[in-house]
Symmetry: C2
Subunit: 312 residues, 2 copies
């Protein structure tokens, strides 16, 4: 259950007066999501998503909201924040920072085929191209600095072998910190649950609350490690070729990106192995039921270390 902060119809009706989106028709809590409280809100004018932020503070939020507004303005099918009558995206509802965003059509695809991966690759490239003009600044909060902190915290829970793997990967990644890769705003969490499909067309890319400025190639690696990987952690060559090919048709890779790709695939696996370990061994209150098995991303990392997949 992911409605951490309850909002009544009366509270919401009063809050809606700040906006120009009509009056309340219906309010439904959304079960998905482990970070924020989300409601589907139907007003006399349409359907919106109300988000109350449980983890991020009002100071951090402008980077995310302005990024979504920027991408939507460029035609990316992502939630667009709704400005209130004072022209603000962010308000306070029941003591939490809160905002409305547009509601997008479609549903996640659990078992994606090449056709879905092609769409994801093309859309991710367009997000990167559209994001170039974005002025917001926020270093990816789950970048190398966070890896080292998280590793310190989870290491006591690991057996000898996994400690060795973690230390070895951190050391390997440290050698590649200064690569001159194209950077910009990245979604950094473009997993299958964050892309809504209407048949074979993307209706929406959602949940930007792990976004930050990072290497664009890191974003692509995160995406490939979810969309194109089997349960053993191995890359499915058909899906990966479809995703990477579509991405490349919209944005050509630099030479350094071609060479760095295996390193980034490992970095992306490391980042999620670490967060899964952290969520598993050091859960926040109420979070346990959502913790994913950390073993999957350990297998992904091992596979990327032993069997690099080229940037086809």
């Amino acid at each position: 259950m992911s409605v951490f902060t309850r909002v009544t119809a009366e509270e919401l009706s009063a809050w809606l007066k700040r906006y120009a989106i009509g009056t309340l028709v219906d309010l439904q809590g959304i079960a998905a999501g482990i970070e924020n409280t989300n409601y589907f809100v139907t007003t006399s004018h349409g359907r919106f998503v109300l988000t109350l932020f449980e983890r991020l503070s009002a100071a951090e939020l402008p980077f995310y909201l302005n990024l979504m507004a920027h991408l939507a303005r460029h035609g990316i099918p992502c939630p667009a924040p709704i400005a209130d009558r004072s022209d603000e995206y962010l308000g306070t509802l029941n003591t939490k920072p809160a905002c409305f965003v547009t509601c997008l059509p479609g549903a996640p695809v659990g078992s994606p085929q090449s056709i879905h991966c092609e769409q994801v690759g093309a859309t991710l490239a367009d997000m990167h191209l559209a994001g170039r003009g974005y002025g917001g600044k926020l270093e990816n909060p789950r970048g190398p600095k966070w890896w080292r902190e998280a590793a310190r915290e989870v290491t006591p829970f690991l057996d000898e072998e996994h400690r060795g793997l973690l230390a070895s990967e951190l050391e390997f990644q440290a050698r590649y910190r200064s690569l001159d890769l194209p950077r910009g705003p990245v979604h950094a969490d473009l997993f299958r649950d964050n892309v809504l499909f209407e048949r074979e067309r993307i209706g929406g890319v959602i949940d930007f609350y792990f976004a930050g400025i990072d290497a664009l190639l890191f974003d692509l690696a995160v995406t490939v490690n979810d969309w194109c990987v089997d349960s053993a952690g191995e890359i499915d060559s058909g899906r990966a070729t479809a995703l990477l090919g579509a991405y490349r048709r919209a944005r050509e890779f630099t030479r350094i990106e071609e060479e760095a790709w295996p390193v980034l695939l490992r970095a992306a696996a490391l980042r999620f192995w670490l967060s899964r370990l952290h969520d598993f061994y050091l859960p926040r209150a109420g979070e346990l039921t959502h913790a994913h098995d950390p073993e999957h991303f350990r297998r992904v990392l091992e596979a990327r270390r032993t069997r690099p997949f080229p940037l086809v």
Copy 2:
């Protein structure tokens, strides 16, 4: 036929490279509209409307495009301009200023019922509330100054009686020029063809290219004179009550607005009688087939002069 400037698939494919909205799938000319060239453009990422501006110059367009962007950002279901990779809404295609906007769902309702009028009233009020924070400046180009110019041009074509009506109404309106009415961006052309309905819900408000800064009440009067008027020019009390009641629930009228309402209903009728006369007697090349009968708005004006309808 309203495709004044032809665009080929090759030309559009090249132009699409400026954007992050995918590659061209389909291109269809839109027959409706007498001012601009419009195409439905389907890309690999979605559906957009491409507009090439035939009448307005690139210098005038930012007021309109920024207004649409502002209203869309506030949750108004209107076309949102798409920024290109250089963050510009406006480009040049086949020598014309051109832009993409989002494609909205629904279709116009020819014979509106009270339920439609209620939606239109509520949405217009929300447009006015959302528009308050808009910083663009452009006096309504079809305001009193234009009325006088247009009257000078069409008077030679009118018979004695209609000349008298026109002169009398201009003189009447001149007496009320200095009323202290709430002003802001107005659509100024919210006729039935410019509202798309999905069943009884508004999917989109379109065609902002007559917008400007004017009295909000003028916008309401233009709207009532189309949505709530029968073929004899008389107001249908049921529809007018529905539209005005819904508007008022979102934005309360000032005392001066209550009193000025009959004047504004006449002003709105005058403005469209004049433009219909102008289009009829002084058509631009290629425009004749679209000219509406000026008589309808003369009847509306006469009816508003003799039987004022209160601001219920």
